[in-house]
């Protein structure tokens, strides 16, 4: 069962600076964040606020300039087997079938073929792609590809799933459907999810906790717990109220930034 006292991800005083031609740019400044077991956390912010950078550092693909990130108490110094990541798009290997893609992580860890195949079929069933095991990614729609990417991320049984705007390239209808399905998967598998998005609507629909990042230099501004029961009704008054509050916060942050 989920153990809310267990903290999977801990981000402490993390600052990230990039060297550019125009000099040093501070992408993130003094970011602090904790993600508890089983939580669905959305990292919300405008484009260029460094939310993807933060996700990548948690995933071990980037290194903070200062500060520390720990996963399960251990300092991140590269991708951890406890975490997987779902990218926005184009991360499936087009020369591999869907099943071969989903089994990729297991293959890298030396899991034998038979065992892999069984696990892959289980995950494909979970995301509703069991009939597409031997199709190629280019034969699938955008939504189906992302389902395959989610299945691949689940196959290695990580504790934490990092998702970088995974539905950002999908049309609105598909997107809503994928959000519903992701929540079902999350409830079924009890994974901890850190989900990056720039859509307030998406964050309010999905998250237990919304972390709002300010524009550059990005810093965690507001952490909102959303305690609406699921499935959430986007048309309800409460939903609209929360969305309005968050939009208000973002607007204030942006005008505040302009005044500096």
């Amino acid at each position: 069962m989920t153990d809310y006292d267990k903290i999977w991800v801990r981000v402490k005083h993390v600052t990230k600076k990039f060297a550019t031609r125009k000099g040093e740019v501070t992408a993130l400044e003094d970011v602090n964040l904790e993600i508890h077991d089983g939580q669905f956390v959305c990292l919300l912010g405008p484009s260029g606020c460094g939310k993807t950078t933060l996700l990548r550092m948690i995933g071990g693909l980037d290194v903070p300039t200062s500060g520390t990130i720990t996963i399960d108490g251990k300092v991140v110094d590269g991708p951890s087997p406890k975490m997987t990541m779902v990218f926005q798009e184009y991360s499936l290997y087009p020369w591999r079938t869907v099943a071969e893609n989903v089994g990729f992580g297991l293959e890298m860890n030396g899991v034998p073929f038979e065992e892999r195949r069984a696990e892959v079929m289980k995950e494909l069933k979970l995301v509703g792609l069991e009939n597409f095991a031997d199709s190629y990614p280019y034969e699938l729609s955008g939504g189906m590809r992302q389902r395959a990417a989610v299945a691949r991320a689940l196959a290695t049984d990580p504790a934490v799933m990092l998702m970088d705007e995974p539905f950002g390239a999908l049309d609105a209808q598909t997107r809503n459907k994928m959000q519903r399905e992701l929540l079902n998967i999350w409830q079924e598998t009890k994974k901890t999810i850190l989900f990056v998005t720039h859509s307030v609507d998406e964050a309010v629909y999905l998250a237990d906790k919304i972390v709002v990042l300010t524009p550059r230099p990005g810093t965690v501004h507001e952490i909102d717990e959303i305690d609406l029961p699921r499935p959430r009704d986007r048309t309800s008054v409460e939903f609209a109220q929360i969305r309005k509050n968050i939009l208000h916060i973002i607007e204030e942050l942006e005008t505040g930034n302009q005044n500096i």
Binding site: G59, P81, S91, W95
Partner: protein, 253 residues
């Protein structure tokens, strides 16, 4: 487009050739079409003592295959390393850029000085001719592998050799293959040119020089046609494999 559309221009070309041959009326300059095609009706016949069309074709194909395979064994792994490790590319780029524009024929004197007259010289010319397109395409293909593909592999704890063998090589394979296609075309031209050098006694390049010295221009042209046909067949093979094996590249948009 109808299939025969592509044949219209070659047909006109042959007609123009025939008209020109009739007007010139000198078989030492331009033989008639039929006199040339007749050479192909006896592909196993000895042509003025230089061997048959088939024998000389086979020897040229053998030579080009040998040189091409040697080049692949050198250039593809080297290209993968140079494409993957920037420091190696920076280190070697200057030398590659200097050597690349030198045509294979410019290497002939040195080749003769180093390897003498014979197979080794011819193979050297072939290797020099086709190594650069293969190397450069491989480097480029490896460098253009999507970052998200490599990062995905890293997320799943792939070791470096797994990143190379499971992601970079398959992802760069279409680019490598098209480098091989270009490289083979150049290798084929190089072998024919190398066979025209003094001291060679076999091959299609030798055949066209030898029969020319005997004034048999119809045999020269027949040899040229054979060179063209073998080139087309090999190129079609490369294209066929490209479509069959690497179709995902065009479809993955």
């Amino acid at each position: 487009m109808k299939w025969y559309f592509k044949l219209i221009l070659p047909a006109l070309f042959i007609v123009a050739w025939e008209i020109a041959a009739i007007l010139i009326n000198n078989s030492y300059v331009l033989p008639r079409v039929w006199d040339t095609l007749v050479v192909f009706t006896t592909p196993f016949a000895d042509l003025f003592g230089c061997g048959s069309l088939i024998d000389n074709s086979l020897i040229s194909i053998y030579r080009v295959s040998l040189g091409f395979i040697i080049t692949c064994i050198i250039a593809v792994p080297l290209g993968i390393l140079l494409g993957r490790y920037q420091v190696l590319e920076d280190f070697s780029d200057g030398l590659i850029q200097i050597l690349r524009p030198i045509p294979p024929m410019a290497w002939v004197p040195l080749s003769l000085a180093w390897f003498g007259i014979g197979l080794a010289s011819i193979e050297f010319i072939i290797v020099i001719g086709c190594i650069f397109p293969i190397l450069v395409n491989t480097i480029d293909g490896v460098k253009r592998v999507k970052k998200s593909w490599i990062e995905t592999a890293r997320i799943y704890q792939a070791r470096e050799w797994q990143v190379l063998s499971k992601v970079i090589v398959p992802a760069a394979a279409p680019a490598i293959w098209s480098g091989l296609r270009v490289g083979f075309g150049i290798a084929w031209m190089s072998v024919v040119a190398a066979e025209m050098l003094p001291g060679t006694t076999q091959g299609l390049g030798y055949l066209i020089m030898y029969t020319y010295n005997w004034g048999q221009v119809q045999m020269v042209i027949a040899g040229m046609i054979a060179i063209g046909i073998i080139g087309i067949v090999m190129d079609q093979f490369f294209q066929y494999v490209q479509k069959r094996k690497f179709g995902w590249e065009a479809l993955d948009k």
